[in-house]
Symmetry: C2
DNA sequence: GTGCTTGCAAAGACTTTGCAAACTT
DNA sequence: AAGTTTGCAAAGTCTTTGCAAGCAC
């Protein structure tokens, strides 16, 4: 799998926005790139500390908006007190999340026909769709039947419908 | 429009759950019933205070889960720091929300075919759908063109696709 | 009377911010 | 050198909780 969102890309984004390239920002982006799954700000801080333990929580919180606004990292709100993030790896953006209520894992999914919904809505209300997300909450059937859940131990970041 | 979720209904729910009928709970439910639109916990407190200004914030926060678990009030998370609530009025539950980024208004919508999505997902991941929501973020075309937004001043709680 | 509820204020959880020192350009 | 960025700790925002007094059953 090709990693498109490399550090060079990040440097460009910083330049574009008139921001400075600091070791902290590079380390934080590096840690985000290194995360295979969804992570919280706190998860990210922990991972960042393995690179440089002097980097502060504040800087992580200040850097995350830069990353999300650059689309190098995506923000996912599943209704918890804290937000989740993940680093997309060259795929098209996904439109749906499935949250397993058993293992709390978040699956990013493609939902190819989803846009139709938003557009139907837009017409009726005179609104123009900016973005839309489908959020599915689900529980593990395997876990119920056999007491174990394969998904919980497998990396399945993106699936298509 | 028939109001089905009346106070008698609430008393029953309280009894069912082994909870006591207090003036505070009745006032809070009354205030929720009185709210035509989406409201926050703080909005609700304000409205409750018009009925009885001695009712505390804590009681409002403690009563909201009772109301949502009874399905007398529904909770909506649109990714802000605080949650929104609304009192459904006899309609079927909606499956989608459209949030106008201009007026911040939330429109509850029916999305009849939405369940298909969740079920497709469920099959692939071996998960059983518990619930699903479509969240559309949209901006007002009228506002852009003419500088005013009809929706912002109109009550349109539920629309069907 | 028993024990659930309430109001108050304090605590909690996550995130943001003011400020002086440090760093990028 | 000029102005951004950082770390620290404090503040902020929304929500929850411990406790003694009050109320429903």
């Amino acid at each position: 799998m090709e990693i498109q969102s490399n550090s060079g890309n990040f440097r460009e984004h910083l330049a574009q926005q008139g921001l400075r390239v600091t070791n902290q920002r590079l380390a934080i982006f590096g840690a985000a790139l290194d995360s295979e799954d969804h992570f919280t700000a706190e998860d990210l801080l922990e991972r960042v500390h393995k690179i440089d333990h002097t980097i502060s929580r504040a800087t992580v919180y200040r850097t995350l908006p830069i990353l999300t606004e650059s689309n190098l990292v995506r923000e996912v709100d599943i209704g918890k007190d804290y937000k989740f993030y993940y680093t997309p790896r060259g795929e098209e953006p996904t439109q749906a999340q499935v949250i397993c209520t058993d293992c709390e894992k978040i699956f990013e999914m493609d939902a190819p026909f989803l846009e139709w919904y938003g557009q139907s809505v837009a017409k009726k209300l005179g609104l123009a769709v900016d973005s839309q997300r489908l959020q599915v909450s689900a529980s593990c059937e395997n876990l119920k039947r056999e007491g174990s859940c394969e998904n919980c131990t497998t990396e399945q970041l993106v699936q298509s419908l």
